[in-house]
């Protein structure tokens, strides 16, 4: 369209030029412009010539041969199409000749300017070093690629942390055939089958009835958990971005400097103009639309009384205008603006209209973000809250009076918002609910935070009323949530107390992951909370008691050990000569018992006599002393006798010197048998066994005790059940034989739908504060 206009303009310009030219010809009678043959000149008169000229001008109207070559009057030495020869030879064309034309025209002005600029510019800067340029290129390329690749980070991390990976990764959806389909066109033929069917029919088994409720079907079709998570992460990201932009807009709005705002406005206007020009070049259709917008703005301006000096401010200024020059100017400006706005536009060069438009329509948040909002099902605080109060929504809709009471415009907006909501797919709803469950804990705070920091709020006061109503509703809802939440927290705490660490979070998890039973209304929600609470209440003392019981025997077992430790040194003599009770009822149920004491005494006597010579205990103690001594680290004596003093036979180095050069060995850990008098434990290291021990700590562990804990559980089938062995020794990676393992694709991970979101994030990643980036990371994890 625009192009057409441009061509049209060209045509008109050309026509104008022609007209002017013909006039000139008539006035000045320039012969040089028109080729005339000499013979004709001679033969014909003036009339003839004029006629001829007219014919020529007419013929030249088609634009092809408007300018005829001038007649060469003088012969030149060299006739060439490459050389320009004006007067004779030897004279060269100077730049200044070209610069000074006979008439200063506007088109030449620009050329002049350009030339001036060229002239004024100093020598060109040297191009960058090759290496440096390359380095810059590399840096840019690296940043770009790393940004692109960063979207894979969570997936890579997930895969790394996964217990097991099965390749190829894409899972085929389980082919679920409802039973009625499977039975379709099949009849019981054999007597056995018939019998079975009879039985089934007797028991009223659902042979033909649809076995799946619509809800179940929906849940089968619903997106997987992974997908939902991904989606949620994206939404969270988008929301974070939005809040960031909102904050920025608020901050900028708060700036009081008029100058700043003026500059900003100008900047915006310029930018808008530029953009429009660009758009015109690139996409004329869009530009046309833009034009229409401007037109619409004009219409609005014409309808409204804005900028017509009828407002409060304008009236006050009008009073002042008599005396105050500035006030007068301001009023005039306003009027001028009005004029501008109301002026009908055809050519787009007028930027003011656009500027005004921009001023009004420029959203505080970039479009991309808003788009995300819409897709994501209402990050708009209003919508968000409504979504949260999914249960309430129904009520609102059911209430027929509400929309009627509203003023029309509001109703319109309301419906608009409704419309926005509607198209959101079912997935979205599911996701929303999923999220709801997931964020039950945080929600109340989140909602409070997400409370409206909205620039749009100021826009429409009527709208606000409605919205405030809505808000009240949602707050009520939040309160309820909060209460149930509290209950839940309490119950969880109870479980924590009772069960120890692990089971509680698991339970919570399972609760969150439960899909089929959705909490539809507040009542249900509350009930759920109560139910859980009661469940946990039931959950039992017995467990606690059992635990205690379990603990006690252990302690008892441990106790004697500690005692022995505390006893410093047990006397060996005592140990070996303790009076142990003699056995009374020995094997033989005969008359030995009476004699036993006597026999015992006799035997003791005999033993004493027999072992009078060899003192076993002393020998053992001696042996132990030697063992201790042998095992002690020895001091190293580095004294050199005769160094620095007299040496010779019978001369010993001085005590001082000896003390100085004696390297004392460090005392090792205390012996294990330090407090065990009757034991010698070898302290030497078993080198052969040590060769089989782990001597390097694997990566994430920093202390050997940590690593030891992970390898304490045996994995062999000797110590475990078969299932446990299978589980403990599952391979980290499983590849299905006969399947092609393709590289991972974005679609596989669910990135395809949200490419634009991702790109937005990538572009704005730099602008996000570090804190926000962290937050995003956390969310995406």
């Amino acid at each position: 369209m625009c192009e057409k206009q441009a061509t049209a303009m060209n045509v008109t310009q050309a026509a104008e030029g022609l007209l002017a030219l013909s006039q000139q010809e008539e006035l000045v009678d320039l012969p040089s412009n028109h080729p005339l043959s000499a013979s004709e000149d001679e033969e014909d008169g003036d009339g003839e010539r004029k006629h001829q000229k007219l014919l020529e001008t007419i013929s030249s109207l088609n634009g092809t041969n408007r300018w005829k070559l001038t007649e060469r009057s003088e012969a030149s030495l060299k006739v060439s199409e490459f050389n320009v020869t004006s007067k004779g030879s030897g004279e060269k064309l100077a730049l200044s000749d070209l610069l000074g034309p006979a008439k200063a025209s506007s088109s030449l002005d620009t050329v002049k300017k350009q030339l001036n600029r060229v002239k004024s510019k100093k020598t060109l800067e040297l191009p960058l070093n090759k290496e440096e340029a390359e380095r810059i290129h590399r840096e840019v390329a690296f940043n770009k690629t790393s940004q692109i690749l960063s979207k894979w980070d969570p997936i890579v991390l997930n895969n790394r942390q996964a217990e097991q990976l099965v390749f190829p990764m894409e899972k085929e959806p389980p082919a679920y055939v409802p039973i009625e389909h499977a039975f379709h066109g099949w009849k019981a033929t054999t007597p056995l089958e018939q019998e079975v069917f009879n039985l089934l029919n007797k028991n009223k088994q659902p042979v033909t009835d649809p076995l799946l409720t619509p809800m179940e079907k929906a849940s089968l079709k619903a997106m997987s958990l992974e997908e939902a998570k991904m989606r949620r992460a994206e939404l969270q990201r988008a929301r974070a971005l939005q809040s960031y932009y909102e904050a920025r807009a608020r901050r900028e709005k708060k700036i009081k400097s008029k100058k700043y705002h003026k500059i900003v406005k100008k900047g915006k206007a310029k930018k808008a103009l530029k953009d429009f020009e660009q758009l015109q070049k690139v996409d004329p259709n869009a530009a046309l639309e833009e034009l229409e917008k401007i037109e619409k703005a004009r219409m609005m301006e014409r309808m409204s009384l804005k900028h017509q000096n009828s407002g409060k401010w304008a009236k006050s200024k009008a009073i002042m205008a008599k005396y105050d020059l500035e006030a007068r100017q301001a009023m005039q400006e306003q009027l001028a603006k009005n004029k501008e706005l109301t002026q009908k536009l055809q050519v787009i060069s007028e930027s003011e209209g656009e500027e005004g438009e921009a001023e009004e329509e420029e959203p505080l948040v970039p479009d991309a973000v808003n788009e995300v909002q819409m897709n994501g099902g209402g990050t708009n605080p209003w919508m968000f809250r409504k979504y949260n109060g999914d249960a309430k929504e129904g009520e609102i809709q059911a209430d027929p009076e509400d929309p009627e009471q509203l003023p029309e415009t509001v109703a319109h907006e309301f419906s608009e918002s409704e419309e926005d909501e509607r198209p959101v797919e079912e997935e979205e709803v599911l996701l929303q609910e999923f999220e709801e469950k997931r964020s039950l804990r945080k929600r109340s705070e989140l909602n409070h935070n997400a409370k409206p920091v909205d620039s749009q709020e100021t826009k429409d006061s009527n709208c606000q009323e409605v919205l405030s109503e809505l808000r009240v509703l949602s707050q009520k809802l939040n309160k309820k949530n909060h209460q149930s939440q509290k209950q839940k927290v309490n119950s969880v705490a109870a479980t924590l107390q009772v069960q120890g660490e692990e089971p509680a979070p698991e339970e919570e998890e399972s609760l969150l992951l439960q899909k089929p039973e959705r909490v539809q209304t507040m009542e249900e929600l509350e009930q759920l909370g109560k139910e859980e609470y009661s469940e946990n209440k039931d959950l039992p003392r017995p467990v606690l008691e059992r635990e205690q019981i379990e603990r006690t025997p252990r302690n008892q077992l441990d106790a004697p050990k500690e005692k022995t430790k505390k006893e410093q040194m047990i006397d060996l003599q005592n140990l070996l000569t303790t009076k142990s009770p003699s056995v009374k009822s020995l094997a033989v149920p005969t008359a030995i018992e009476e004699l036993e004491d006597e026999v015992d005494r006799d035997q003791k006597q005999m033993i004493k006599e027999a072992f009078a010579g060899d003192d076993v205990i002393r020998e053992f103690l001696k042996e132990k002393r030697e063992a201790v001594k042998a095992n002690k680290p020895r001091d190293v004596d580095l004294t050199l006798p005769g160094w620095g003093e007299w040496g010779g036979v019978g001369l010993k180095p001085s005590a001082k010197k000896r003390r100085r050069f004696l390297i004392k060995a460090r005392e090792g850990p205390p012996r294990k048998d330090k407090n065990l008098p009757n034991v010698i434990i070898n302290e030497k290291r078993n080198i052969h066994a040590a060769a089989h021990q782990v001597r390097v700590l694997p990566y994430p562990f920093t202390h050997h005790q940590q690593f030891e804990r992970t390898i304490q559980n045996p994995i062999g089938s000797t110590w475990n059940t078969q299932r446990a062995v299978q589980k403990l020794t599952t391979p980290k990676v499983i590849t299905k034989p006969g399947h092609i393992i393709k590289p991972i694709k974005a679609e596989d991970v669910g990135y395809c739908s949200s490419k634009s979101d991702l790109s937005v994030i990538q572009n704005n990643g730099k602008q996000l504060s570090r804190h926000q980036q962290k937050k995003l990371k956390k969310n995406s994890d």
């Binding site: 028991n203 088994q205 692990e502 089971p503 469940e535 039931d538 959950l539 039992p540 017995p542 467990v543 059992r546 379990e550 050990k561 022995t564 140990l575 070996l576 303790t578 009770p581 003699s582 056995v583 009822s585 094997a587 033989v588 030995i592 015992d600 033993i607 027999a610 072992f611 076993v616 205990i617 053992f620 048998d673 065990l676 009757n678 034991v679 010698i680 070898n682 030497k684 078993n686 052969h688 040590a690 089989h692 021990q693 782990v694 001597r695 994430p700 562990f701 202390h703 005790q705 940590q706 690593f707 804990r709 992970t710 390898i711 304490q712 559980n713 475990n720 059940t721 446990a724 589980k727």
Partner: protein, 611 residues
Amino acid sequence: METAPTPGKDVPPKKDKLQAKRKKPRRYWEEESTPTATGASPGPPAKKRNQEFRPQRPKNSGVSKKSRISRTPQVPRKARDQKKPQRSLSGAQDPFPGPAPAPVEEAQKFRRIDKSKKIPHSKTKTRSKLEVAEAEEEEASVRAARSELLLVEEPGFLEGEDGEDTAKILQTDIVEAVDIASAAKHFSLNLRQFGPYRLNYSQTGRHLAFGGRRGHVAALDWVTKKLTCEINVMEAVRDIQFLHSETLFAVAQNRWLYIYDNQGIELHCIRRCDRVTRLEFLPFHFLLATASETGFLTYLDVSVGKIVAALNARAGRLSVMAQNPYNAVIHLGHSNGTVSLWSPAVKEPLAKILCHRGAVRAVAVDSTGTYMATSGLDHQLKIFDLRGTFQPLSARTLPQGAGHVAFSQRGLLVAGMGDVVNIWAGQGKASPPSLEQPYLTHRLSGHVHDLQFCPFEDVLGVGHSGGITSMLVPGAAEPNFDGLENNPYRSRKQRQEWEVKALLEKVPAELICLDPRALAEVDVISLEQAKKERIERLGYDPDAKAPFQPKLKQKGRSSTASLVKRKKKVMDKEHRDKVRQSLEQQQKQQQKQEKAKPTGARPSALDRFVR
């Protein structure tokens, strides 16, 4: 008078004297709740007794089993049912919804990770790994506990009627009370010709080999009494020992060690092991440990036929040997009253324990490796705790002194004194046998020369000068066997399979040490050594904490002076912490010393002049 029979106990019906005194053997198909009503009994029986002998197989089915699963499930079922009524296709409800209940108490004994041990603070990554390991351990233990349900067999027991001493119950009484199959397990072989016998049961408990001092060597399937081989080696036989399976057995003869197969064919004569007195076989390491008169303890790897280690005990003649089944450490008893613990990897004893004032006559270690029983020339029988302390738990003086001791699989202790065999029992499986009251006694026809409990059968084999006696000892053996490990009923093919697997899983000899769990620990010494070397090589410590570097601040707060100030502040703080710590330590030490000091004597003012 006879008390009314309680349904839980098996009271044999009283019979007339005319009837055989044999009590009716109980069959597994018989219901517990149908005791035949006692008619008019002619009079009180000679002995009031209530015996119960539970042979391993077949088992009494009627006994109400103690449920092995925790009775209260984790989550009350009511709440679960309310939440989710699970309906199957047929409309029937699952009577046991949800996951199977976890037997918490049972799982406790399968836990391997000691959570009471504190570990240093770990980063998130490490912590996640630890959590995974702990979860795995818990799951494995729960699974193991759940599979306990499969151990249906229960150990037998012998219970005296109120106040009655079980030691007075004779073998004949027991044999009368039990079923035929079990009664057939009591027998004695009268072999007076070839002098005192040594005997050995194979690992599965199915086969028995015995060798008389005068050269008689025989092997038989003692359950069916089928003789596999019988030879006379025409030489003194000191000891006999089955190798890994019943097809091979080693005989310590007068000069050298010989190995025969189950047909009595001499396969090897090992001359490097000469004058062997005792033999022990370590089944998981395939090691045959021999103790010789020359004072050498020799380890022979029977899978490759190599001598792994020959250790000189330096304690004269070795004639007392036992193995610790828990860690495969060999215990040797010496004449100076000590017991030394040996591993083939170390040239010196791992530990030496002074047990008796006189020479040690016999040593035995129980199957869990917790208790060691020793008897010495000082007529004492002692039980030692082997879990690190090596202290005697209980001791008892016996009038004659025990020449042989042995532990059963369930911790019963038997001691042979002269021609009498005494058996003591503990309270439970893991408790040491209490030496107060003997559980059973038996008198043999000759002096005891060897004792061994048969694995997986409530049978004690006694070799004596009069031959071999197989005694019934209720509750001696483990009732449940592992069919993949020691299957008494295995076929030839199964045995061959097992042999291959066992050989593949052979544990290297050098891994024998006092605490086998220590192998699952990091070798700290070499770890630190490697670290030191690395630091030397690099010239700095890569793991060291980086010195404090003050952050760059704006608005003139990052001036040189302030930087120095901040640095100094941090340094001072660290220093203060160090000083505080050392002070605390000093104080603690002082307190300890003060506590240790005897408070009896008051310090006098003149103490200051004491040099």
